[in-house]
């Protein structure tokens, strides 16, 4: 692992959109009266329109990293810039797709999609209605506008979650294991769907997952994180052409890439002696 990041720069890199620069984050553990280093010295540059996945064993600080980038956890070590501007709190330039759908249970699907726009107060009422409907259509939920979240399946809730994030037209889309809670079939399906939607919107995406095949299927670039403390171990460029079909997952080259990444993570897990049998 001492060779430099496998393919940090290959070909023409697009303009940097999101720059994470030597970022660290510490939680303060109130009961133990000490700090806990969640991740340390993370540097990562994501270009305009790039789809980057972060994988790593559970507990390595992926969610924390994403929350810091979202501005939900203020950092004090390192720097974070979007479009060249330093950010340290939530902004309209980012949208988050949460691991739990986190929808307001008393709002219909359509009203939930409107929610982010309402909070940001950047869109006129009529425009919000129109956009919300467009996004509902984009994520394939036409006909379900008036359903409450409790009346939607897990996959459909995540579609609403995604639509809500896209509705505010952010520069960067932050996604935290959005499909982790779905069954295997729905998950595959949503991955394909996400790629289709991404092709239409071309957002810059930072996507967290612990599923290697998910990362390899979706990403332009995969960042592997190690733990104790969380930090970046290695980067992989994903060479497969787009548009990608689900059949890509059976391609030997694809499987080889997954294997490489898997070995790296396994090594890491072994190193700290916490193999939890999770993939």
């Amino acid at each position: 692992m001492n060779n430099a990041g496998a393919a940090a720069a290959g070909g023409a890199t697009p303009a940097a959109k999101l720059v994470i620069d030597h970022l660290s984050y510490r939680y303060y553990l109130e009961r133990e009266e000490r700090e806990f280093l969640a991740f340390s010295d993370v540097s990562l540059t994501i270009g305009e329109g790039e789809f980057v996945c972060v994988v790593g064993p559970s507990g390595c600080g992926k969610t924390t990293l994403l929350n810091v980038v979202a501005g939900l956890l203020p950092y004090d070590e390192g720097r974070l810039t979007i479009n060249g501007r330093t950010v340290n709190r939530p902004g309209t330039d980012r949208s988050m797709v949460f691991q739990n759908a986190s929808l307001l249970p008393w709002r219909s699907a359509l009203a939930n999609v409107r929610y982010g726009m309402e909070m940001q107060r950047r869109f006129a009422g009529e425009l919000m209605d129109r956009r919300a409907q467009e996004l509902i259509n984009l994520v394939g939920l036409s006909g379900f506008e008036t359903r409450y979240p409790s009346e939607l399946s897990g996959g459909m809730q995540q579609r609403v979650n995604l639509a809500r994030a896209l509705a505010t037209d952010p520069d960067v889309l932050l996604m935290d294991e959005p499909f982790a809670a779905l069954d295997a079939q729905t998950r595959e399906f949503m991955q394909a769907e996400l790629l289709k939607i991404w092709t239409q919107t071309r957002k810059t995406v930072l996507f967290i997952t612990h599923q290697i095949d998910e990362a390899a299927f979706l990403a332009d670039r995969i960042v592997v994180m190690g733990m104790r403390p969380g930090r970046i171990k290695q980067e992989f460029r994903v060479p497969f052409a787009r548009p990608r079909a689900l059949s890509l997952k059976r391609n030997p080259q694809f499987l080889a890439l997954c294997d490489d990444i898997w070995r790296l993570i396994e090594e890491e897990a072994e190193r700290i002696n916490v193999i939890r049998g999770e993939r």
């Binding site: 939530p90 988050m96 008393w106 909070m119």
Partner: protein
């Protein structure tokens, strides 16, 4: 349909008209409830007609009904009911006007909560009726002291439930709101308030019950008007039928008011999934 998405779950829901739930199923609550009441009255009337009950100690349904008619047409029942009702409603609405805003404030501001918690807990845990003699000294034995005891009885459950609602807000919802740059005021209006409405209405329901207890006990204690007084006076005269008229009227008022509160609660919870326990 302009959407090009051709995914399976994306199809609009089937338009087939669904069979409405049967009459029996829709009015299940009323049917079971009525059945229980009718059964109880039938058994009671039977034992009364068999003369197993001495009128000195108890009375029968027909005797109570007759007495009710007499008191309602020629006696003071209506005046007593009006007196009790007025005290109850004034006290209850004051409780609502103070309990809800105070509960929201205590739930929202941590320090205010820490400051008020001991007092609120003490008041909630003690039988408020123990303070009634004090209120008589302060406000006299007329309506004043009775309104105060109703107010205090009803206010605490409303306050406690409202507070619990605001304090238990799903942190995921707060996180989502923050990520979309919601201000504190927006979070308050779009998350905290709607989230606590069902809690507030549970408090209202309990407040109704406690307020009625306050009304009647206040009149049992002292004074010369109201349903409580009627009950107490009839007891001293061994007029069990009159006494039971008072009891039945109180029970009926309690049922109607709690049912109204429960209805209101359901109306605000139509987004909740239906009852999932055993039938």
């Amino acid at each position: 349909m302009t959407s090009k998405v051709e995914t399976v779950p994306a199809a609009a829901p089937a338009e087939r008209p669904v069979r409405r739930r049967s009459f029996a199923r829709r009015h299940e609550a009323a049917i079971y409830g009525t059945f229980a009441v009718v059964l109880l009255i039938a058994v009671w009337e039977f034992t009364w007609q068999m003369r197993w009950i001495s009128p000195l100690f108890f009375s029968g349904p027909t005797a109570v009904a007759l007495r009710f008619w007499e008191l309602a047409t020629t006696g003071s029942l209506l005046a007593d009911a009006a007196y009790s009702g007025q005290n109850f409603f004034i006290g209850f609405f004051l409780a609502l006007a103070v309990g809800v805003p105070l509960g929201v404030l205590l739930g929202w501001y941590r320090r205010l909560f820490l400051f008020c918690d001991p007092l609120v807990s003490a008041l909630y845990a003690m039988p408020r009726i123990a303070l009634y003699p004090l209120f008589i000294i302060w406000f006299g034995i007329g309506s004043g002291s009775k309104i105060v005891i109703v107010f205090l009885s009803a206010m605490l459950p409303i306050l406690i439930n409202t507070l619990a609602g605001v304090r238990n807000i799903d942190p995921d919802l707060l996180k989502a709101a923050r990520a979309f740059c919601a201000t504190d005021r927006q979070i308050f209006v779009t998350v905290a308030l709607p989230y606590s409405v069902p809690f507030i209405l549970t408090g209202v329901r309990q407040g109704v019950a406690h307020g009625l207890i306050g009304t009647i006990i206040g009149e049992l204690f002292a004074g010369s008007e109201g349903i409580g007084y009627m009950i107490s006076y009839a007891g001293q005269m061994f007029q069990t039928d009159t006494l039971l008229v008072g009891v039945v009227c109180t029970a009926a008022a309690g049922m109607v008011l709690t049912a109204a509160a429960e209805r209101l609660r359901r109306r605000f919870q139509k987004w909740r999934p239906e009852h999932v326990g055993g039938q």
